[in-house]
């Protein structure tokens, strides 16, 4: 039913040009460097084939990174999506101050890394941090921890802070999606006697199918690229407990001067991102076709 035409190319041309000029070269550049032994600055580099990839396979830190990525991705994507949906649905209705609430929940997204680093280290500090002070005040001393100094809790708080910062984003994505669902649909459901719950599960949730896909892919890619929060809060530590792809890229190129290995990590990240996205798009289009046919 959609018209086949050549004007489609015209619509995407500007973006294709910008992409070709600015994005293609960085991709090619990193792939090329990943085959070299290079400190990132010298005039000479040595071609080493797949050696950098071999180094990565043998590196125990890479296993930690993969594990952290999976834990981080699953936790943040799920919780952010659920919280985002919850608040979007709450604020969709005619409610006094809804605008204000929405703005305030969205606001953490403006927090730059400097803010996150300074503020949360004050909250989570072991001896005088607000969180432990609070726990002591309500006589729960036994729950006090050195939050950022212990490997397990450090990762948990990286996740919590990510949720704090990005829930507003999911909320706004869902909210924007909900703006598009006509009020008539809900009215019709109400007449049929559907309550708030069944309205949500039978109308809102299925109609936001595309949005769920977006949130998932964005979350996956965001998790792969996550850098600011672990970098400012724990520098990937203690002892690599909160190491992620991007923080390790940083360590490899700036502390160890292994630009080749660093680029190899970039390529690995890239491949993972492409596979995940391709799988998602396949599912999305696959279902789309069914819908079109039906």
């Amino acid at each position: 039913m959609k018209r086949k035409s050549y004007s489609g190319y015209l619509f995407i041309l500007p973006m294709m040009i910008l992409f070709a000029v600015f994005i293609v070269y960085p991709i090619v550049y990193n792939i090329r460097i990943s085959f070299y032994d290079w400190n990132g600055i010298s005039r000479t580099k040595v071609f080493v084939g797949l050696e950098n990839y071999q180094t990565l396979i043998q590196d125990p830190v890479v296993k930690i990174i993969l594990k952290n990525f999976l834990i981080f991705a699953v936790c943040t994507i799920l919780i952010q999506a659920i919280l985002g949906l919850f608040f979007a649905n709450l604020l969709r209705r005619k409610l006094k101050f809804a605008d204000l609430y929405r703005t305030l929940i969205y606001l953490p997204i403006v927090a730059t890394p400097t803010i996150v680093g300074n503020i949360f280290s004050r909250i989570l500090e072991s001896n005088r941090g607000y969180l432990n002070e609070f726990l002591r005040a309500i006589h729960l001393e036994s729950l006090c921890h050195s939050w950022l100094a212990e490997p397990k809790t450090a990762l948990v708080f990286i996740i919590i802070i990510n949720i704090w910062q990005w829930t507003g984003y999911s909320m706004l994505v869902y909210y924007t999606g909900m703006l598009n669902i006509s009020e008539d649909v809900y009215e019709a459901a109400k007449i049929d006697g559907a309550g708030a719950f069944s309205q949500f599960f039978r109308i809102t949730l299925p109609l936001l199918r595309g949005t769920h896909y977006t949130i998932f892919i964005m979350g996956m890619i965001g998790s792969l690229k996550t850098f600011d929060i672990p970098y400012v809060l724990t520098r990937g530590g203690p002892n690599h407990a909160t190491e992620f792809f991007s923080t390790y890229i940083n360590t490899q190129s700036f502390s160890l001067f292994n630009q080749g290995v660093s680029s190899a990590i970039v390529v690995v990240m890239f491949v993972i991102a492409m596979v995940i996205t391709a799988a998602q798009l396949y599912l999305y289009y696959h279902n789309d076709k069914d819908k079109d046919l039906a």
Binding site: I41, R122, A149, R235, P238
Partner: protein, 441 residues
């Protein structure tokens, strides 16, 4: 929709014309007279707004050399090297730049001009005597060529104490490990920080550990770093055990690896004045010259009394030695088209410039042997600490601060953190470090 686009268009057009006008005035200024422009990029001396010492130095230099203009580019330490690298490789690097001592200095070698002949020409045959011996050791390569001139000197391994606060707890400044343990216990009992350390900063851990290991056996430490001795030997093993103990017997505060020196721990000591002791180097002397209200009242207030001190970590009756390094190595870009003017500026900065930075602001200790130390307006308390640093600088230096090999330095830093959180035993840590040490030779 049209409204959005219109608003955006007008907004960007307005600003375009505004900034356009701004640009023109800038160009107009630049075109007056044919000046040689020397671009100088660094993270230190820092830009702290109008009247910063670096601007005073530049103004004085430009007055003396009306044909040269310094284009000073300040980049925070976090991104300085990254930006420098991009600029240099892209053929757009600065003429003169600051470089940190350690692995980066040698990794950037392709973009560092050999300065030996410049130094000889400007300062005479015996120019090396101008600088302290081991400053020269740091800037020279194996063949004796010099790729940078040292600006400022720094000593690491020190601790600082607020003597008044310690006295409030019935304590005096601890000098040995045994005393420190006792003091830490007393302080902890009264809900106060024991010795504070910003152990998230792995460079600080390295500083502290090096001076501990040097206290146990300095020769062994440097032999191991140079690959002539194993890290698993008893002298070094002892240092790893000691390091781990400091975290386990409560000498350092709980959750230490979750705190940075700047700002977490430093703020508590320097500004809040809420903790009695912390680990920090000689560069913290600038606490006496900083001008914000809190630091001033804390350090230059009535009766304020702070001590910089060294600890006898192995209880052998002798305090630990310090390690020393150059703060900023000034390098020249070999692709610079204004090398002569560039070196003129470097010359001025290490001489007249350093005078101001040291004697006016105590940013560093002097790297020059011929420099007179005469810090203006320093309180009696500050003077006392400065003398202590100078004293130790002359007779108690173990060797060079930091480890030049990046891989070795990184694995030691990693292991120090792992020891601090008990994820590894001293034996395992030593073995893992030794393995890397062998692989990089």
């Amino acid at each position: 929709m049209k409204k959005i686009i219109c608003t955006l268009l007008t907004a960007s057009l307005c600003t375009a014309s505004l900034t356009g006008a701004g640009c023109m005035t800038v160009f107009a200024q630049e075109n007056e007279g044919e000046k040689t422009v020397v671009t100088f990029q660094t993270w230190n001396p820092a830009d702290s707004g109008e009247g910063s010492p670096i601007y005073q130095i530049i103004d004085a230099f430009e007055e003396e050399n009306p044909d040269i203009e310094i284009n000073y580019v300040y980049v925070g330490s976090g991104s300085h090297l990254d930006q420098l690298r991009v600029g240099l490789m892209g053929g757009e690097g600065p003429d003169v730049y600051g470089m940190s001592a350690g692995s980066a200095y040698s990794e950037f070698r392709d973009f560092e001009e050999d300065l030996t002949s410049y130094c000889q020409e400007s300062w005479g045959e015996n120019w090396e005597d101008k600088f302290l011996d081991f400053c020269m050791d740091i800037v020279k390569d194996e063949d004796g060529a010099v790729y940078g001139v040292p600006l400022g000197l720094t000593y690491a391994g020190y601790a600082w104490a607020d003597t008044n606060m310690l006295a409030d707890y019935g304590l005096s400044v601890p000098t040995s490990y045994a005393e420190l343990k006792e003091a830490a216990k007393t302080l902890r009992e009264q809900n106060q920080f024991p010795m504070a350390i910003g152990a998230k900063d792995t460079w600080l851990n390295l500083d502290c550990w090096m001076s501990m290991a040097a206290d146990i056996d300095a020769e062994a430490l440097y032999a191991a770093i140079n690959g002539e001795k194993s890290f698993t030997d008893p002298e070094l093993l002892e240092s790893f055990t000691l390091w781990q103990d400091l975290f386990n017997n409560g000498v350092f505060q709980d959750g230490a690896v979750g705190m940075t020196l700047y700002n977490d721990v430093n703020d508590m000591f320097q500004r809040e004045g809420s903790i009695p002791m912390f680990m920090n180097g000689s560069w913290a002397m600038n606490m006496y010259t900083l001008n914000d209200e809190e630091t001033r009242s804390n350090f230059n207030g009535e009766n304020s009394d702070h001590d910089i001190f060294l600890i006898d970590w192995n209880d052998d009756g002798q305090v630990c030695p310090v390690t020393a390094s150059v703060d900023v190595i000034l390098c020249m870009n070999p692709e610079s088209e204004v090398k002569e003017a560039a070196f003129k500026w470097m010359d001025y900065l290490v001489n007249e410039g350093q005078d101001l930075l040291v004697n006016g602001y105590l940013e560093y200790m002097p790297s020059r042997a011929d420099m007179e130390l005469n810090v203006s307006g320093l309180s009696e308390d500050g003077q006392k600490n400065l003398e202590y640093i100078i004293q130790n600088g002359t007779d108690n230096v173990a060797g060079i601060r930091g480890i030049e090999n990046a891989e070795l330095s990184t694995v030691i830093c990693d292991m120090l953190t792992a020891l601090a959180i008990n994820e590894v035993t001293p034996e395992d840590a030593a073995a893992q470090i030794q393995a890397v040490s062998e692989s990089v030779r």
